[in-house]
Structures are given as C-alpha cells and as structure tokens.
C-alpha cells in the first residue's frame, strides 16, 4: 500500500513538471548547396517553379498535394528568395532556398508541422533532364518538372525519399487574402520568431501569408507599439521583473528592459510597417486597435505609409481595425473618417456606416452567405477570423464567399486556396 502511494506521488510529481516544448529550425548545412559552384537562384526562376505538385513519394508524411509559392525577404542590400511548399497533412510546410549547380536546381530547407513540434531537414533537386534545363532557360514549370530528394526528422541527415511532380498552376481565379495572425503566427506555436515582432513579419510571406494582422497599443509616452496581451507576461516576454500593462511604461523603458520570448524587442508600429513595406511582398496590414486612445496616431501612420507605398508603386493596403463600439466612437472622431481605410469586426451595419473597406466577422458566426453577399454588393470585402481547423478552412473556402481568412496557420490556408481546381 505504502509503495503504491509512493509510486503514485512520484508519478504525479513527474507528470506535473512543465515540459518546455521546442521546434527549432534544423541545421541547413549541405555541402553541395554551399559549394562555391552553387549560385543563388534569382526570384524569377523560383517564380517559374511555382505551381501545384503531386507527391509521388513522401505521401505518408506530407499528403498528396503540395502547392509551391515563392516569396522574398529584403535584408539590407541583400534579397533572399525562398520557395515554400504548403502540404496537406497536419498543416505542414517546407521552406527552401534555391541555388543553381551546373544545369541542376538545388532546393535546401526545412519542413515543419504546425500541429506538433515535428520538423526536419529537406534537400531537393531538379535535375537537368527533370525540368531544370528549361526552367533555367526561362520556361515555366510543366508536367515534365520533377523535384526529387530526401528529408529527415530533427537534425538527422535526410534519407527518406520524396518526389514531387508538377501537376497544375496555382489557383488564383478569385483574389483572396491569406492573413497571418500576429504578424505571422503565435509565439505559442514555437515558430522561429516571436509573435508581433519585426522578425516574424519577415517570415509571414514564407508561411504563405499575403497580409498580416497586428495588435496596436500605446506606451505611457504615446508611442504606438505592437503587442497583443493587455499586460507584460511570460507567455510573450522573457522574465525581467516588469509586470502590468504596457501603457504603464515608456517606450525607452520597454526598449531597454523587455525582450520578447525569442529575444526581439517590442516593435513600434512604424518598425512593423517599415518592414512590411521595404522587406516583404506583403500586401495587406490589419491594425487591430486594442484601445481607442491609439486611433488618432494610427491614422497618421497609416496615411504616411500608404503614401510611401503609393510613391514606390507598391501594392499595400493598411486598414484600421475596429473591434467594438469603444474604438468605433474614437474612430468616428477622425476627420473624414468615412474615407479612412478601415475594417469593422462586429456589425455589418457599422461597416456600411463608416464605409469600411472590409467587414470581418468572427468565424464562429458561420458562413453568413447572405450577409456577406450584401456587403460585397456594396463593394466591401469580407474576411473571417481566426480559422485554424483544416476542415473549417476547407469548408469556408468551398461553401463560403469570403475574400480572405485570418489564421494562425497561414500555410494551411495557402494549401487549401492554391490547391483548388
């Protein structure tokens, strides 16, 4: 009896221990890929590889279809081009960089499942005779393009075969915004950067996002910063002795003392928009206004960055999110508020009243096809949030009429959108 109690106590103690989950990006070392003879591929070549691929090997881990989409990140004077594959099984994705080696194309990267912590290396090759020759000479992908290679789990050397064959172009018949929550994804999902950070914003397009949602609040000295929670807490930041609301501290104090989970500082709204504009191909930013006090300065910054984007000939839309009546009251204090690009989350009537560009109902309210159609008839787009379950994304795309979906897993939305027939 005593032994049983002791065993139960020990088991309880062990099970009570907090497990620190991690999903680190594995090492991408590949001698062939980093050899002097391997030359970086330009974005235009990766763009020609875009399309929906059918998996001929590797289906047990990744499913049968893999839409591939290219993106870029500008880092100073350097531009890094990536090719992402969005996979059917367990919201997985692959992110690769590309190089040319002789007449072959090498794709080196990692894969990750969003439903758990599984990740691993992947090394792919398009041989000259498997389509690389024509791709490198300016042709777009066709059914003769075959990508073959190996993948592994964790840091193990990849040795499981994978083979993908081009089957069709990416679906783009109806324009659609794939929006990533909190600048790209949540800290809780163990991504390589913290939510609502500059670094996460740079990753968003690789995850398949065409736009981001971000959370705006003011510091004590009136600086608009991007941070989701009402208070500083260890869900989002490293321990530092600071507790309570962000608005109790000045920006200088937060900048000096607060680091997000992965070591980044809490960014200003200007930093995020600068990153979106100059470093990424993102086209849409949804400013989720946490408190009414930030509306006036959000409007100034929104106008400034939309002007900058227009001057660059860059397609970028920034909307002020109105989650409820309190923020709506503050929004209506803005001069010419009906011409301010906005997104209303709650009532379609209010969306019409303020001439919002977007009405964004919660997904739990259902498809609402009639209400959605009525809003679209007024020239308004309709996005829904925050859809994270694959079956729901699939259903909302198949049966709904939405113009965009906000998700914590943009790679999953990208899969269901681009793989459509």
């Amino acid at each position: 009896m005593k032994q049983a109690i002791l065993k139960a106590t020990v088991a309880l103690a062990l099970l009570s221990c907090k497990r620190d989950l991690e999903a680190p990006v594995p090492s991408l070392a590949w001698e062939e890929f980093t050899s002097a003879a391997a030359v970086r591929l330009p974005g235009s070549t990766l763009q020609r590889i875009e399309g929906v691929y059918t998996l001929e090997q590797g289906t047990e881990d990744f499913g049968t279809l893999a839409p591939a989409k290219w993106s870029y990140t500008v880092n100073g004077t350097d531009t890094l081009y990536q090719l992402s594959f969005f996979l059917e099984k367990q919201s997985a994705y692959i992110i690769c960089e590309g190089r040319r080696l002789d007449s072959s194309i090498l794709l080196n990267g990692y894969w990750r499942r969003m439903v758990n912590t599984e990740t691993g290396r992947i090394r792919l090759t398009i041989a000259k005779e498997a389509g690389a020759g024509s791709l490198l000479n300016g042709a777009t992908a066709s059914t003769s393009v075959v990508i073959a290679g190996v993948y592994g789990f964790g840091e193990t050397v990849p040795d499981i075969p994978i083979r993908l064959r081009y089957s069709q172009p990416l679906f783009n018949a109806t324009p659609f915004q794939i929006l990533a929550h909190r600048c790209g994804g949540r800290t809780a999902d163990l991504l390589p950067a913290s939510e609502n950070s500059v670094e996460m914003t740079k990753l968003a397009a690789r995850f398949g996002a065409t736009g981001i949602e971000t959370d705006v609040q003011l510091t004590k000295d009136g600086v608009p910063v991007v941070y989701h929670d009402a208070t500083l807490n260890e869900r989002l930041i490293q321990k530092n002795g600071l507790v309570g609301p962000v608005k109790n501290y000045t920006y200088a104090q937060l900048y000096a003392l607060v680091r997000l989970t992965n070591g980044e500082h809490i960014p200003t709204l200007r930093e995020i928009l600068t990153t979106v504009l100059y470093n990424t191909p993102l086209q849409f930013v949804w400013l989720d206004s946490k408190y009414p006090e930030s509306i006036a300065i959000e409007r100034q910054i929104q106008a400034e960055f939309m002007q900058k984007a227009a001057a660059m000939g860059r397609q970028l839309e920034i909307v002020i999110g109105i989650p409820g009546e309190e923020v709506m009251t503050a929004f209506k204090q803005l001069p010419n508020y009906q011409s301010v690009p906005s997104l209303v989350e709650y009532s379609p009537e209010e969306a019409s009243a303020v001439h919002a560009r977007v009405w964004a109902p919660d997904w739990t309210l259902g498809l609402q096809n009639e209400a959605v159609a009525a809003q679209q008839a007024q020239g308004r787009r309709v996005f829904t949030w925050t859809v994270d379950i694959p079956e729901n994304v699939q259903r909302y795309m198949r049966e709904g009429r939405f113009n965009g979906i906000l998700s914590n897993f943009p790679s999953m939305t990208a899969y269901y959108y681009y793989a459509r027939q």
Binding site: K239, N240, G241, L242, V243, Y249, A252, A256, R259
Partner: protein, 203 residues
C-alpha cells in the same frame, strides 16, 4: 535606545517566566473537546529569491536576491488538528540595478502583497505544516529614465513549516521556513522568519 533595549530584555524575561511558571502552555494541538480559538501570527524575516532571476541579459546588472518578508496570519483553531485561516503581508521578490549602453542607471523592484487562504496541520504540539493558495498583488517599481509603478494580480501558493515554543497559555515564539510562489511570473521566495503567535480569543 538603551531604554528600548532594557524594555525588550525585561519583556523577554517576563515571557520566559510565564513559560516556566505558567499552568498551561501554548499548544497547536487541541487540549480538550469543544475548545475553539483564534490565533494571530506576526512574522518577520529574510527571504531568498530562488527562482530564475530574469533580468535582461544585454544590460550590465547587479541582482539582489535577499530581501525582507513580513507577514500576518490569522487562523481558526478548532478542537481538531486541522486549522484554517488567512495570511497577508508584504515582501520583495527581488531587486536589480542596471546600467545601459550609455551608462544611464536604473533599478527594478518586484514586490508583492499575498492574500492566501491557508490550511495547517498541527503535527505535534509545537510543529505545524502549512499549505495555502490565493493571490499575490504584484507591483513593479522601475526607476529608469523616469519612474514607473505597475501592478498585476497573480494567482499563487505557499507551503511552510513552523516550530513554536510556548511562552504562556496564549503566547508562543516560533520560527517558520516558508516558500511563497506567485505563478504569473514564476516568482518564488524562500524565507526564514521569527514569529510571535498569540491565541487572542478562546471560547
């Protein structure tokens, strides 16, 4: 100052005499059926902050993890071994000073006021074990490029063991080893306190 010292020593002597000559001595365990009492405990001592310190690694900093822990506890002693009550007080989890890259100095203090419901078991007449849960009102005091005070409520818990030496029927002197933990920011402090225990109401 001298007078205070004399007063303290005389008081202590009197208390000891009470203990020696008293008819009945303070006990954490019931001495008879249907005897109930309220017991107040005044504790003060030092705490050592044992949790991960959590200071910004990029700054030059100096951490102080020794601090005061002052608490007050009110317990109901029924005629059995299990007691229940409330504890509150004031403590500083930790303090650190730092200097940024342009030599501007700053100080962070993380303080707390616990409000905990506690259960205790009188293991012997003198030895008690405590466990409790409740809330901690956390306060950050920051002095760096201006002052900031910020509060947050955290759930938390405590566990302790105390040993009480009786001074009279209603008074005891004790020492308590106590772990106090505010879950919100993984803040835990181990304290050693001296305490005065007073059974101020019996019926």
């Amino acid at each position: 100052m001298q007078d205070n010292k004399k007063f303290f020593l005389v008081s202590l002597l009197l208390l000891c005499l009470f203990q020696v000559y008293g008819q009945e001595q303070f006990s954490s365990q019931p001495t008879k059926r249907s005897q109930y009492s309220w017991v107040a405990t005044f504790s003060g001592g030092a705490g050592y902050y044992v949790s991960n310190k959590g200071t910004p690694a990029l700054l030059s900093r100096k951490i102080s993890n020794l601090s005061h822990v002052t608490t007050f506890r009110l317990m109901w002693f029924p005629d059995h071994l299990l007691h229940v009550g409330l504890e509150t007080g004031h403590l500083t989890f930790y303090t650190y000073s730092f200097r940024d890259s342009v030599n501007t100095e700053g100080v962070v203090k993380l303080k707390a006021i616990p409000v905990l419901i506690e259960w205790s078991m009188a293991v012997t007449k003198r030895l008690n074990l405590f466990a409790g849960s409740g809330v901690y009102f956390l306060t950050t005091n920051l002095d760096y490029r201006g002052k900031a005070t910020s509060n947050k409520l955290s759930i938390g818990w405590m566990a302790a063991g105390s040993y009480i030496v009786p001074l009279s029927a209603n008074l005891g002197l004790g020492t308590e080893l106590k772990w106090m933990n505010a879950s919100e920011a993984s803040n835990g402090i181990l304290s050693l306190q001296a305490q005065l225990v007073w059974k101020f109401l019996n019926w």
